[in-house]
Assembly symmetry: C2
Homo-oligomer: 333 residues x 2
Amino acid sequence: MSREWLIGIDIGGTNLVVGLVPAEGGEAVGLRNRATDSARGGDAIVTDVVRMAREAVRDVVGPGDRVLAAGVGSPGAVDRMTGVVTQSPNLRWTDFPLRERIEALADWPVYLDNDANCATFAEWWLGAGRGSTSLFGITVGTGIGGAYVVDGRIVHGVTDGAGEIGHTTVNFVGRRCACGNYGCLEAYASGPNIAAMAREGIQAGTNSALTALVDGNLEAISAATVYEAVLQGDPFATHVLTEAARFLGVGIANVINLLNPEVVVVMGGVTQAGDHLFEPLRAEVRRRAFRVAASACRLVGAGLRETAGVVGAAGIAAVGLGRLGPDSNASTP
Amino acid sequence: MSREWLIGIDIGGTNLVVGLVPAEGGEAVGLRNRATDSARGGDAIVTDVVRMAREAVRDVVGPGDRVLAAGVGSPGAVDRMTGVVTQSPNLRWTDFPLRERIEALADWPVYLDNDANCATFAEWWLGAGRGSTSLFGITVGTGIGGAYVVDGRIVHGVTDGAGEIGHTTVNFVGRRCACGNYGCLEAYASGPNIAAMAREGIQAGTNSALTALVDGNLEAISAATVYEAVLQGDPFATHVLTEAARFLGVGIANVINLLNPEVVVVMGGVTQAGDHLFEPLRAEVRRRAFRVAASACRLVGAGLRETAGVVGAAGIAAVGLGRLGPDSNASTP
């Protein structure tokens, strides 16, 4: 039986992941993975992902099968009209014409979107929020990003800038954020900020198992070491994680009161902490969001994890081709 | 020439306003206005608005013209499927079957939505955000409500609860809000809270022209007296209004970062303060929102004012009839 395939290309700050997804939806297969090594520059990365896609196609695509298109997810600000990554601090790109460069090497049409949109769209298409009428996705890692899918459509906003939940203010006079502002959600709940808050407490004299975990080198504290200390039952690390979870709860409660979504999916490294994160987070949401809206919202962890970027990028291509969209998977309210 | 008309019924906590709007869009005409007097109960209000609608029809609708439907805007939580106002503190209604009661007296189909959705939809259809692809409306009065229109469609959310920007947290540990929570936008920027902040400052010993304006009776301070003192150049009243404007700016910056809308419309009594409100508000938006998204967003006062409720209710009816919607006025991004 001949099948139709979409290529999903997930360009991350740390890793490149490429795979194939059946055009009608399904698991990602033929996965390729390698370090991004962004210092090499954009053209080397483009050459790599096209080679990885060709390898995946060679492995997976049978005689009579067709490759319809490729979707690409990139971190940073993406101009979908021109296919240009206008600004990506992680990749050190400014106005890099990513779509054009990939199309020059490949023989499929290429669709581009940012990574948070791709991951969230994947969770709506084939993940934890499959078939929901409205879903907000929040990715908590080095930064905090988000995306909103309503009636099967990503809300991109007028300049493709929607979804920046990490830079919504949750504390009027608050911690300084990397964006230059004060009191942003990201300043309390991103991985580096969780680590920084732990470090600051220990530097101020608080006892914590964290100090031993990093052999006294406080600079070595990361969000992952904080979770490790939480699992060992360390009260201070638990306090730090709980505070971060409460701020995430405030940000999510704000989204619930504003948008009343059917599903909120929390993605990214910080969800490794499991119930240590989700319990205080859910308690804060119940405290802050309207009861009816909070009860109606399914607040869950990611369904797809490592492959969300590839699946979402393939999904973006499906939308670009008109194979997937507003009225194919969701009802119109 | 025969014309088609829609009835718009705006049920407010203070006033009932009813009028007719051409089905293809246009100015509201045949307007009727009376006090709500909510203590009379829901049935007396229903009788009144139906009578007012009949009078408007008699005055405006010519021979050969047709009345297609009525739209009704009601404050509070509205279940659009059942046509029931589930909770309206202003009208003292709980589970009041508003649509059914109106339909029992009238001979047009009736469509129902809440007042914030109607006012915002009016600004998108025929007001300050006419033809925009995405618009967020915020109404600042006794409370703070909001609504979001994207691709010509109101985002209602999964339980018709979207738009509650007044109850998004802008200050983690902040002022107590009427909703029971702490640090909500409404606790800083609604009319009664602007008045309360002025009163608290004067009670704490601050000198202000406000004291003389209310003959020393601080309980008589309202948001309107605060604006009056601002117009007299009173520094403390100006400080209070500026703080409220800054918090509004935070709430709006959060919406801009989350949704990247083309237009934000600020409606309601507080906009009487004009530039005294909009200047500090815009400055705070520039400080907090991403530059590209903030620059792309047209942040304006209402275009329709008194008739927004009637026009929006008529617009809801137009959508209900399939005469107005996603692809009639806005392009799909």
